[in-house]
Subunit: 415 residues, 4 copies
């Protein structure tokens, strides 16, 4: 499948050694500006404020996932499952583009720049758009991505509890953050993949590997993805965009590149994306640099909420975060509001913008309806929870939901 | 020296495990906006266009160098060399701030945004400025940095063939690019450091370690720092800024943040920096995001040179690079100019902006007048070139100077 | 503390880069034949039959533990806890020698070559012996080892839930087996150590690090230390020695080096060690090579039990292992005995030597009465089980006790 | 090619993650006692006396080489070179068995236990023997190994400047010794392999990778394979065997297992191997444990040369080594002899056994007549020395020949 034209293309990767490009179509997609844009979108949003090494990008993650996919396809083929060259290429394309719809700072802005439009929806729209540019060559990849392909296991390689996305991001995030305990043995997991009844399964001898994988995921979850300071920074960033949006919609002119200005002024919803192709076009021009560049100018803008939030994010003077045992009392809320008003000069009716509330939960990472399936040596397929060997089942069913609040550090909690 | 206040501060680092903060002063300097700005300056400029993992920052490198410095001081103290707590802190501060004067994309813009002002000069000016903010607490650090401290070996730990800067950047760059052969054994090199006649020396038993270090450096040099595609991208970026500068100075208004606009309009020289404190102030507000954000808008600006160069850099459609055996002939130059004009619509008098010439050389990395010194077991100190054990001396004296030219890929060379 | 004489001594270590020798006494102890013997004792007994990379030795582990101890002492001193140079050296010596009493194949032979003498007892006796050779210089080290030193936390650095022994062996075993999920962040754990009320404690901010450490330990436990095939091999080896002992005590002459012959003939108990210095002397001459060398000759010895067990171990034709839900029934036992007799020619009264029963449990790794203690930010000290943040407490209280039986592979289980 | 029976067999490997078994034949060969014996033969002989982590075995190296071979075959097939399943399996078998003829401590004993019989000759004989046991299934593997197969590039994958043997041992030895600078990027080298004119070649874009590979090899050479202390230990070990041989042939009875006793008494040459199948049979029963076990008894044997050499090796009291600028003068030799006689009680006529002379040279690692060949982009094939890009050619043509002498440390050199 490697053609003379692009076979020389090997991407260096500190994790896998290097990443090969399996076909000319994949090569051309990588060269496309829409894909190149992922070079300017950090994989972990603002986590680099805590883990200074975590500046890796969506671009690298997409390539890494495609690398693992090549291994996975090779493993399944060698176990006798028919996967044609065309199907293999389609699944490579699908994994390559699975995150193409991410906006600046990955997850942080899904509900501030846009009005409740998930990155998955945008990925789907962008794939359709690319499919036009490529004369329909992405048809099968899109079917696989949307779970419309008869070989369902191909979709599960892209989206399930054991997909190549997850395998790459856990490994990559552990590597770049330096959280060594999160490291997973992706090679071993891949080698244990199999297919039964058209579904992706894990061979029984791989159970301890999955158990270790789930523990690593759990550790990464609390250590990185839901780290207090990261949460605080991401909520502050979302608040910056919300405030900029309010100001823009009330007619204030803010420093911003053309696409960002458009999003601030319109905050499009999914219907807008579908009705007006320019919305999607503008989206493909947005990246981290637009937001950071704008925030640096907004530091000096004449609105106390916007300027203070931006100054704090740029200079890393972040809000403190407190996990809550119970709802915040009215008294506490009123005390915080008054303190914010007095200490920071925020008008009373805007103090809520300095008290950011949210909920951290590991549940979002486990919501997949489809449990991991184990293929026993005798051919029976059972769910992992019936097959666990080493760890108490509670390790992976243990759901934690933690409401929290963030506010300026100089104001103590009072309860 | 670790105080209760900040001792909890450990930076995660995928390379050293973690990095400790040795004193409250160091902690406060790291928190300062001028230092936080280094988070937004990539260590390797545009190298991430070739090595997708190389998104590490000046911030992390500065911390890493300070980490190695703590080890180095510990080694020298344990060998009986008197280094007081005050001196140790001063040398930590000096290494922390050694690169504080780097502008956006590190080296790429030293002669386009500014008029021939080195990052070392700016580092010196910024240290003086910080020294005021910190009430003179940086006096000794500045003396060490400027080689005015009587213990010269302290300066050499910051700037010499075996300084902590180099030890960290080689290791860090090798790690993040994935060029594993560049990896050096910094622990072993550190353990072999010693002081003789007030100068930093290497113990004789460390010779093979230095030899390996020099080979790694040489490999990194060609494989990364002088990689053809990296060179091409960096020359294109410098050209973008030069063109923007021309346009700005001729009165054209370009999208830019306030500080960038100032630099485009004035392109200050060293005297400007000294005469006008606002120049330095504006400098501390510049980072990679300003440049990237601006280039994304300039892609659509109505100047063929600026818009095309920006589009190419953003979408990674880079010029090809050819190392030259001899000067480019007039005929060749004229052929290239005509082709650029015809194929890309660049006015004839501007075609030189699409033919970028430069010189790659490993010499710049070896220019230090002071050769590495070896402390023999009998106490004698000799230069490394007299002590080499494994490799032919030519490996590290082998100077290569390679003139090159970059131009659009669709135009073939003709000679 | 590093003296001119031995400062050149750096041991290369793939894990820590290198290991330094902190004093002349430590250097001289390492050079002593009793310590050099540890080079010939594998750290993980027969685990290399499963993990082919796990050929690391007690020698390297002892050096590694001492390396971590140097870091730990440095951390505690920098937090203001008084530890004199003499105390530091004593604790380095104590950790260096903590495993000096291990016999061939580490744990495997504690109850076959000797009659119920633990390696800790032998370590104590060997330290006393070395103390004589070194003119009493080990007095304080022995006090620390035996928990008689007033600074109890020094003892806890050697023996407790968070001692340097554990930190090194988990990291080292994970490294050499290639079980990457077992990797722990020892640097971070060390940095969080502190002392409160004369006891070793962990600072509150280190809780997630301990949680990860305990999970890693749990994974290593099942994945490596209690791996079915490893258990089977180790029980077979113990049986070889028991059989050789029976034969030797009944007057049969077996090929064996002088010391091994002595242990086979006498199987000394603790009193024997204390009464007769030659027993301890003979012990210091035993290592893995004596056992392997003898087994290779015993393969051809005229006793079906001994020759078959040896042949199987040498050629890696190991017994199968079955974890038992309930006691083995008399019927099953009788069926196995008959099958062993028929298929392998083992006399009926010896078939029990081909049915090896034991119990695997993670409890042995957790039996320390002293729970890990957490130092809260407000100064209070609480047990870890009250402080856990990420994981359900069941992960580390979850005790598993699994009886098992091993027997030849060609005989199926029947129940 | 992976069959149900053995596909579960994955060897853990700290270097590659894991190693898969590609076929039932390979699986059965690994299980064979002759191959299992390699578990007891250290890859680097006595290097662990210097690099304490280097206890890896020939067994693991053979598996590792086979792992790389699977990658190499996959690369060549994907570039369109026809390699049938049968040929692939044959080349896997050939690389697996390429070192099967190594004796105890690998290279150290090639000319003491046997009379000038290389391990390659013994490998060939053992393959023939195994071929009988396996009913001729090794025919093609043997043809490839002996360069009789028409596809010569298959042989070159096993034995040439870029064979899988070298790629694995350099990587593995660097890993276990901790000499990080020796690490090579085997993945990248493999990806650049190609075939032209039936010969194995490197694609032009892989030149810098080869240059780095050659430098790593050179560093490993001096840092590990020809390390002074390692050389000294290996020459001492060879001398032990020579002395034991002299004693055995003069009728003295020495402690030794049956096979070792046979080799000491007969020191067979190649003809003996061919004439008498028992010689080869006895050889397959020899491993490191026999030698170590015997030396431990010989420490107490009544011959000053044998007992002292053994005691020194076991307790790591090694001879010093001096590289010689010129021949040892008669005067010096006589002075050393007298000193050895006086200080160590060695009879004058045996003092030469305490003055061991040899020659270290990197030439032995470069003797292959076939230079590495480069496939240019235009299809031309040229030798590497004409294609080198980064390093001066002297780095890899630089031949060093260093005569040396080893003798007891307490006797100073006098010249």
């Amino acid at each position: 499948m490697i053609t003379q034209t692009n076979k020389f293309k090997l991407f260096n990767d500190p994790i896998y050694g290097f990443i090969a490009i399996p076909s000319a179509l994949v090569f051309d997609l990588i060269e496309h500006p829409t894909f190149q844009r992922l070079r300017r979108i950090s994989q972990l949003g603002l986590s680099s404020l805590v883990y200074a090494g975590a500046n890796h990008t969506r671009f690298h993650h997409a390539l890494g996932s495609m690398h693992l996919m090549q291994r996975a396809i090779h493993v399944l083929q060698s176990k006798g499952h028919a996967i044609s060259g065309t199907e293999a290429e389609a699944v490579f394309v699908a994994i390559l583009l699975h995150d193409i719809g991410h906006g600046p700072f990955s997850h942080a802005l899904e509900n501030s720049l846009v009005d409740n439009v998930s990155h998955e929806s945008i990925s789907t729209m962008l794939m359709a758009k690319l499919n036009k540019d490529f004369g329909g060559k992405l048809d099968m990849a899109i079917d696989i991505f949307r779970d419309k392909h008869p070989k369902r296991f191909l979709h599960q390689l892209i989206s399930s509890q054991l997909d190549m996305d997850r395998l790459d991001y856990l490994k990559r995030d552990a590597f770049y953050t330096g959280v060594v305990e999160g490291v997973i043995n992706s090679e071993r997991l891949l080698a244990m993949l199999n297919v039964a009844n058209n579904e992706l399964v894990m061979e029984q001898k791989g159970i301890t590997s999955i158990e270790k994988f789930l523990v690593s995921r759990s550790l990464m979850y609390w250590q990185v993805y839901m780290h207090k300071t990261v949460l605080s920074a991401e909520y502050m960033l979302a608040q910056v965009l919300k405030r900029a949006n309010e100001l823009a919609q009330s007619g204030t002119e803010l420093f911003a590149g053309k696409s960002l200005a458009f999003f601030l002024a319109h905050r499009p919803n999914k219907q807008d994306f579908m009705d007006n192709p320019e919305v999607l076009e503008a989206f493909t021009l947005l990246d981290d640099a637009d937001i950071t560049g704008a925030m640096k100018q907004w530091m000096h803008f004449d609105d106390p909420v916007l300027s203070q939030l931006c100054t704090r994010l740029i200079n890393r003077q972040l809000f403190q975060l407190r996990f809550l045992e119970q709802d915040v009392s009215e008294q506490q809320r009123s005390y915080l509001a008054t303190s914010i008003h007095k200490a920071h000069g925020i008008p009373m009716d805007l103090t809520a913008q300095f008290m950011l509330e949210g909920v951290a939960s590991n549940a979002t990472y486990r919501s997949d309806s489809q449990e991991i399936k184990i293929l026993k040596r005798d051919g029976e397929v059972i769910p992992l929870t019936k097959a666990s060997e080493i760890l108490p089942i509670s390790v992976y069913t243990h759901t934690i939901i933690r409401p929290f609040i963030c506010w300026p550090k100089n104001i103590p909690w009072k309860d």
